[in-house]
Every structure is written in C-alpha cells, then in structure tokens.
C-alpha cells in the first residue's frame, strides 16, 4: 500500500518536501519505515534521533502501519 509521511523541521529540509509517499508492505513496522527513510534520504541518519508519529501520537517501534494512518517524521524537538 502507499502511505504518505509528513515531514517537519530539518526533516522537511532533508526530504525537500512537506510530505512524501512511501510504498509500505503489509505488516511493516514503524521501525522498518524509519530504517527505509534513512536509507532513502541522506542526512536523516545523521540526526540525533528520528521518530515516527502515527495519528498524532508517539508509538512503539513495533507498531504495524496500516492503510489510513497519518505518519509523521519527528526530528529532535526544540520548542520552548
């Protein structure tokens, strides 16, 4: 299935887009998606951390992505 991933902050600069469409295999976990994004986009791997939020919530690495999920790459936060 195809799933779109939102990108913020430096992740948006690295990906050069506000969102990117990924081909995700059935049963693929969040950890798998992150690993693939890091392979695909030079620079993501150099960040101190890259998390993936699903439906506006932090999830465990083992969370299995399904159709309709809203994914977002969360580079290190720096609010405040």
């Amino acid at each position: 299935m195809e799933i779109s991933v939102l990108a913020f902050g430096i992740a948006r600069d690295i990906i050069k887009a506000r969102s990117v469409v990924l081909e995700v295999t059935d049963g693929e976990s969040v950890a798998g998606v992150v690993a693939r994004l890091k392979q695909q986009y030079d620079g993501l791997e150099k960040l101190p951390s890259v998390l993936l939020a699903v439906n506006e919530e932090y999830v465990e690495d083992s969370y299995v992505v399904s159709q309709g999920d809203e994914l977002a790459i969360i580079p290190p936060v720096s609010g405040g």
Binding site: L6, F8, G9, I10, R12, D13, K46, L47, P48, A53, E56, E57, Y58, A72, I74, P75, P76, V77, S78, G79, G80
Partner: protein, 136 residues
C-alpha cells in the same frame, strides 16, 4: 488552556485567565527570544509545529501536572512562525493554593514541553540559519 498561535502572546491575559479566588500563588514562565546563542548573534527565531500533535502532547503534560500537583488553573501558549528578539516564544502560567506547587508544576511543564512536544526552532543568523537540536 492550551494554544499554539502565530500571534503575539499576551502574558497578562494568561495571568488573568489562571487567577482564581482560591489561588495563593501563580507562577509564570516566559521563554523569550535571545539575541545570541553560544556567542553568535541571532536575528530572529522561526518556530514550526506539528500543530494537532503538539496540542495533544501539551494536553498530556498538563494532565500529568494536574495529577501530581494541586493546580487550580493553567495556561500554556506556544508561538509559531517568526518570533523577533525579546518576544515571547512560550508562556506558561499555573495557579495553585500554595507556592511550591506553582513553581514545581510550571517547571515540570516547560521541561517536558522541551522533551516531547513536536515544535521545532530555527535560529536565523546574519549568515544563515540552523534547526536547533538537530545537530549532534
């Protein structure tokens, strides 16, 4: 009250908001834009938020604070977009019956905010810009 806004934060309105007749203490934290970082001149800041998630995460932090301390009212407002030097980037106000709770809860909220809330700060210098915390 929790809000992400692109407008100037009016601290005095937030203080009025948390005022309660049972409150003996109000603690207010104001994060302002510094004119320098590590000795380098900062021109302005630019904040970006994953807004619906940021509001949810702030709500979780507020809920945890309310569980731990005797809080009468709170207001948490974070600015997004360009924030000029000296302007408020974030304001947190907490009212409690006793002062210790107000200090602890307010500090807890800003400490947690900086750890988990999906907001990103870009520092703009004369010769470029950088996303804060993005470089090891």
């Amino acid at each position: 009250m929790i809000e992400i806004t692109s407008k100037t934060i009016r601290t005095s309105e937030l203080i009025d908001y948390v005022k309660e007749s049972g409150a003996g203490a109000i603690n207010v934290f104001i994060g302002t834009t510094r004119n320098q970082t590590a000795g380098k001149k900062v021109i302005k800041l630019d904040f970006e938020a994953y807004e619906p998630m940021a509001v949810k995460e702030l709500q979780k932090i507020a809920d945890r604070a309310v569980e731990q301390w005797d809080i009468l009212s709170y207001a948490i407002v974070h600015r997004v977009g360009i924030v000029e030097i000296g302007e408020e980037a974030v304001v947190i106000a907490v009212s409690t019956p006793h002062r210790k709770d107000a200090f602890q809860a307010c500090e807890f909220i800003i400490d947690e905010l900086k750890k988990t809330v999906p907001i990103w700060k870009r520092e703009v210098f004369e010769d470029g810009d950088v996303w804060v915390a993005a470089h090891p």
